[in-house]
Symmetry: D2
Subunit: 359 residues, 4 copies
Amino acid sequence: MIIVTRPDATEEDIDRIRERVEALGVRTHLSRGAHHCVIGCVGDEEPVAELPLRSMPGVEAVHPVMKPYKLAAREFVAEPTEIPLGDGVVGGSRFTVVAGPCSVEGREMLSATAKAVRDAGAHALRGGAFKPRTSPYSFRGLGMEGLELLAEVRREDGLPVVTEVMDTRQVEVVAEHADLLQIGARNMQNFALLSEVGRVQRPVLLKRGMSATVEDLVLAAEYVMRQGNTHVILCERGIRTFETATRNTMDLGAIPILKRETHLPVLADPSHAGGLRELVAPLGYGAAAAGADGLMVEVHPEPAAALSDGDQSLTFPGFRSFMEGLERFVVAAGRTLRDGVEHAAPPESEKAGAPATTA
Amino acid sequence: MIIVTRPDATEEDIDRIRERVEALGVRTHLSRGAHHCVIGCVGDEEPVAELPLRSMPGVEAVHPVMKPYKLAAREFVAEPTEIPLGDGVVGGSRFTVVAGPCSVEGREMLSATAKAVRDAGAHALRGGAFKPRTSPYSFRGLGMEGLELLAEVRREDGLPVVTEVMDTRQVEVVAEHADLLQIGARNMQNFALLSEVGRVQRPVLLKRGMSATVEDLVLAAEYVMRQGNTHVILCERGIRTFETATRNTMDLGAIPILKRETHLPVLADPSHAGGLRELVAPLGYGAAAAGADGLMVEVHPEPAAALSDGDQSLTFPGFRSFMEGLERFVVAAGRTLRDGVEHAAPPESEKAGAPATTA
Amino acid sequence: MIIVTRPDATEEDIDRIRERVEALGVRTHLSRGAHHCVIGCVGDEEPVAELPLRSMPGVEAVHPVMKPYKLAAREFVAEPTEIPLGDGVVGGSRFTVVAGPCSVEGREMLSATAKAVRDAGAHALRGGAFKPRTSPYSFRGLGMEGLELLAEVRREDGLPVVTEVMDTRQVEVVAEHADLLQIGARNMQNFALLSEVGRVQRPVLLKRGMSATVEDLVLAAEYVMRQGNTHVILCERGIRTFETATRNTMDLGAIPILKRETHLPVLADPSHAGGLRELVAPLGYGAAAAGADGLMVEVHPEPAAALSDGDQSLTFPGFRSFMEGLERFVVAAGRTLRDGVEHAAPPESEKAGAPATTA
Amino acid sequence: MIIVTRPDATEEDIDRIRERVEALGVRTHLSRGAHHCVIGCVGDEEPVAELPLRSMPGVEAVHPVMKPYKLAAREFVAEPTEIPLGDGVVGGSRFTVVAGPCSVEGREMLSATAKAVRDAGAHALRGGAFKPRTSPYSFRGLGMEGLELLAEVRREDGLPVVTEVMDTRQVEVVAEHADLLQIGARNMQNFALLSEVGRVQRPVLLKRGMSATVEDLVLAAEYVMRQGNTHVILCERGIRTFETATRNTMDLGAIPILKRETHLPVLADPSHAGGLRELVAPLGYGAAAAGADGLMVEVHPEPAAALSDGDQSLTFPGFRSFMEGLERFVVAAGRTLRDGVEHAAPPESEKAGAPATTA
C-alpha cells in the first residue's frame, strides 16, 4: 500500500496515518517531496486494504501494491490451468466450443441440437433449464424437467453438458445433472451463490457481469476457488456501454489481460456480446485471434421459433459454416479444434503478448 | 409493437413477418413508405415481444409500444404509493431518512448509532448483517448474530430496521428480524431472490444495479410485485461510468424519471454514489432537490475504525450537521422531515416536472 | 511519481528503471517489499510523466503524485476565482443564471427572449450563432447574422451575451460580439481552439465533453489559462453512459469535486443533461443544492417551433415558474440569485464538504 | 418517423401532433391500439426529424424510420468503396497496414522507421506533426517542421504518408504534404474541421470519438462527404468505458456493423485501443478476423525514448514479428497483405455475416 499526502497535510496528520497503519503490524517508510509525502507500507497488505485511509485528514490518494486476488493469480500459479470436460480439457492447446440452445425447450429439439453441434465439431452442449430473464413475463425455462432432459441427452450422446445455476438451493441438484455449472452475468457478484458452487466437485463457468471490471471478475473467481473448487473457467460476454448498435460491447482486450493476470482458461460468448446472428462469426473469430481458449455459441434448430434469444442463435447449417471458418482462425492462432491434431506453430498472439519477445 | 422493414425487403419477407405475428392472435397493419414499410401490431404485445423478429429476413428495426412492466407502472396506478415503515410511511409528503452503519459490528456501536441517528431526526436504522463484498478476503458481516443485534436494538430504541438479504435461504429469517428487506445493487437481477422476497410480508428496498437502466430497475421491482408483495421502494445509488473521481456516478435524472414512470417511492443513497464523506451532503441535498422521497446514509461512531465503507460514513456530529442542512432543502422541495410538520408549498420540482404546468 | 515493480522484476530491471528516471535529474528512492519494490521519484514530475515507464521490463504500475494541472488547481490558488460578467460576477455568493434560446433564429424571438429571461431574473443571455449539430442536415445556425443580432440585443437590453465559438478563425469576431465565449462539449479537446481562446480578453465558458473525466476538463481549462486567459468557467452538462432514459447523465458529483480541485466557478446545464423540458427543474435544482455557482438553461418563445433543442427548452411562463422554485434552493444553499440580497447562512453543502467540519 | 402516443393522450393532442407533421408536407396515418396510438409519417423524414415532437402533449415516443445519413450509407451505394492510397487502394481484398511513430521526432528516426515498416510489409507511413495532447505540458509535435520531414521521407521512400490535421487553418498545408488526412478521435465532432477537409482533394482517415456511437461516426463521415470529398476511411480505435485495465475498450462489434451500414473501408487502431505494446497483436489480429480492412499501428525505433505513446509502440523487430503473425489471420479472413497475391477463399466473416447464408 502506498499513501500519498496532500500538500496541506500537517506533521500530525502524517504521524496519525503512520500510527494507524503500524498498529496493524505493518512497517511504514516516509519519502518527502516538495509538495507531497509518500508513505510506503511494507508487510501484509490485506488488513491495511480494509482501513478507510482515503478519508483520513491529510490523505490525497491510496494505491494498492499487491493484487487483491491470490488463488486465481498467474503470479502464484505460473502454468495455465487445464480443466477437464468430458474426454478432453478446456485450456492448453485445445480450442473448446460449447454450443446449444439458449433454453432447453423439449426433448426432441435438445437431442437434435446435440447431434448437430457434435457433428459440426463442438465439444460440449449448452442449454438453460433455469433462465434469468430481465422481465418476469418472459419464458423462464423448464426448470427440473429441463435439467433431466439435459442429463438424458448427455447419457445418449456423450457430449458433456453445461447449464446455469441461479439459486443456492439448486446447486446440488444441478451439479448432479451437469458437467459444468454456469454462473450467469447477472449473478457474477451473487456472493452466496459463488461460495456455494465453490463447495461442489464440478467445474464452474463464470460469466463476466455487464459492469464488472476484469479485476471484479477475477475476484469473483477467487470466491469460488477459496471454497476449494479451483476449476473455474472465465467467460467474456460483452459489457454494457453507451453503444446500442450491438446488444453489449465485446471487450476484446479483456481476453489477453485475463490470460496475463490469471492461470484460468478464458472463453468468449459472441452470441450474447453481439446479440445478432450475423455478429457471431466476426466476434467469435476475433476472440479466437485474440487468444481465447474457446467459445460458447447459441444454436437452435429453428431460431425464428425459439422461446429465448432467437435473434442471436445460429441454425444448424449456419453453425456448420461457422465452424469451418473458425478452424482457419484457430489454426492461425496456433491451436487446434480437434484433439490429436497437431498445430504447426506456437500461438503468435501469445508470443507477441510477451514484451520481451516483441521488444 | 412496430416493425420497420429494410429497403430491400421483398413482398414475401413482409408476408412472412405478418404471418408470424398474426399467428399469435395479433392484428397487423401495413403502411408503405418510399423505402421502408411500417408494420403496426395491434393486440397483446407480450407474446410478440418474445418473437425473434430482429433476425427475420427483411426486418430493420422493432420498436415496442407498451411498457414492459405493469404492476409498477404509473400508467396503471395513478396515485403515488405510500409504504408503511415504523410509525410513518415512505412516500407522500414525508421525506424519509434511513441512517446507520454499513455493517453491524457489535452491540454497543449499533446501539449508540441508533440513538444518534434517531436524535438527529432519522426515521429508520440501517445496518448490514450479511455483507456483499467484492473480495472474499474482506469482512463479510456478523451474519445471524448481526441480525439478532438489529432486532434487539429495534426493540429497545423503536426505530424500524433495514438490512440486506443476499440468499434465498435467508429470506424468511431476515424478514422475521427486520422491517424492510434490502436487495443490494449486485443482486438487483438475482431473480431467484427477487421472487423469494416477493412472497413475504415485508416491504422491500430495491437498490439499482451498477449497470441497470431505469427500465431494468422497474422490471426488477415487477418481479417482486408479481409474487404478491407490492411494497417496493426503489433506490438510486449511482451507476458505473468511465468517471473514477467518484466511486459511482449518481444518476440524478433517474429520480424524476422513476417518479414519472412508477408509483413507487424513490430513495437515493449518496454514501455509495459518491464513496467519500465529503460528497454525502452535496449528493444528498441534490437528490432531495430533484424530488427524491428520502435518503439512505451511512453513519458510524468512528468511521476511521469501521470494518467497511469507513471512507463514506458520517460521524455522529457530521450526521447532525448534515440533517440540519438537509431540512432546508427538504422544505424548499415542499416536503417535511418530521411528521406533523406542515410544509408551506407544493413541491416545485413536481410541478415543474409536469409538462402541462411549465408549458 | 511512484513506480511499483513486478514480482519477477530482476535487479537489472530495477537498476534500469532508476537510471532512466535519474537521467532526467530526479532522485529515486527504493523501498523493498516481499513481492514488489516501490520506487519513489522525488523532483520535477513533468518530464517523468512523459516517459513510457509502463512498458519497461519489470514495471507493474506507475502512479503520479502531482496533479497534472497547475494554473487551475485550488492547490495553487486557494481563493475561489470570481469572473466578471456584465455588472456582476460569476462565482462567490452570487448564483448566476444564463438563459436563452439554443439557436438565434431571428431578431424578434431573440429580443423577446432577452426581455423575458431578464424579467424573470436571469443574469446573461445565451444564444447560438454557430451551432454544432450531429447531422450535417440539421439547422446549423445563422452564423455572422446571428452574431450581429446578439450584439444588437445586448446593446438594447443590457444583458451580457454568451455564444459558442467553433472555429479558430472565428475567435476574434466572436470575441468582439460576445461577453463570454462558449466552448461546446464536442470541442472540449479541440486543443487548437482552446489555445486560441486563451489569447483573447474574454472569459470562456468551457463545457465538459461527453466522455471527459473531471481531470480532462480541468486540463482543458489549463490549455486556455496557459495562454494567458485565466477567466474560465467550467460547466457540467451530462456525460454519456449506458442509460438512455435521459439524453445524457448529469454527473452531480463532478460539481463538488470540481469545487474542491479548482478555484474556477462551476455551472451546470440541466437542459442538455436531461434533454427534456420536464427534467430542467429537478436537475437544475439538484445542481444548485450540490453547490453549483449557476445554471445555463434553454428558453424559447415557442419551443414547439424551435429550430433546435425544442424538446428541452422552457417556455417564458415555464422559465418564470422555474426561477421562482430555484430561488428557494439557492437560498437554502446559502447563496443569492439577486445581487445586493444578503443570504442568511453559510452554504451547508460547502461546510459539509470539508472533512474537518463533518468529522 | 413513427410517433407513439401516451395512454392519456386526448383526441385533441393527437390532432395537434398530426397537424404539426402534415404542415411539413408529410402524410400521416393513425393506427389505434387499446392504450396507445401509432402515428406513421410517410414522406420526407428530414424536416420532421427537426421537430421537437417528444415534448408535445400526448407524445410518448418517437422512432425514426430512415437512417440519418445518405452518402455514407450502404443502402445507397451497394458496392464497397475502394480508396486510392499510394500505388494501391484501401478496401476490397487488400488488407492495409499503416505504421509509424506516434510523433515525428526528427529526420533520422522517421527515415529509419519508414524503411523498417516498409520492409516488414506496411503500405503507408503514419507520423504526427501536430499532436493533440490531453495536457498542455506534454510534447505537442514539431508542427510545420514535422510536416516537411514527412514530405521528404515520402519523396525518398515512396511510402504514402498519413498525418493528423487539427485546425481548419492547417488543412490546406497538410493536404499539400500528406496523402491521407487524419482526423483524430478528439476532433471527430469538430464540425468546422470536418467541413474543411471535405473541400480538399485528399482522402480522410476519420477516427471514432471516445464516446461516439457508430451512428455518430457515420454522421461525421457524412459531414466530410457532403462537401464533395467522398474518400473517407473510418477507424475504430476504442471507446471509453468503465474498464481501466486497457487504455480504451476496442469495440470489435463496430467493425461488422460499420461494414454492413456503410460502403466505406474500416480500419482498426490496436495501439490506441489497448494502450500497451503487448495488446497490439491480440487486438490487431482480432480486428483482422472480425473483418477490418486494415490496421494502423504505432512503431518506434526506441519506444522507451519516444516523446509520446512509447508504452504502446512496437519496436522494429516487434513489428516484423507482428506482421508475420498477422498474415496468417489476414489469409484466414480471405484477404491479402500483399498486392498481387491471390487469396484462397472468400472471407468467411463476411459470408457468415449475411443472414441469408447462415440461416
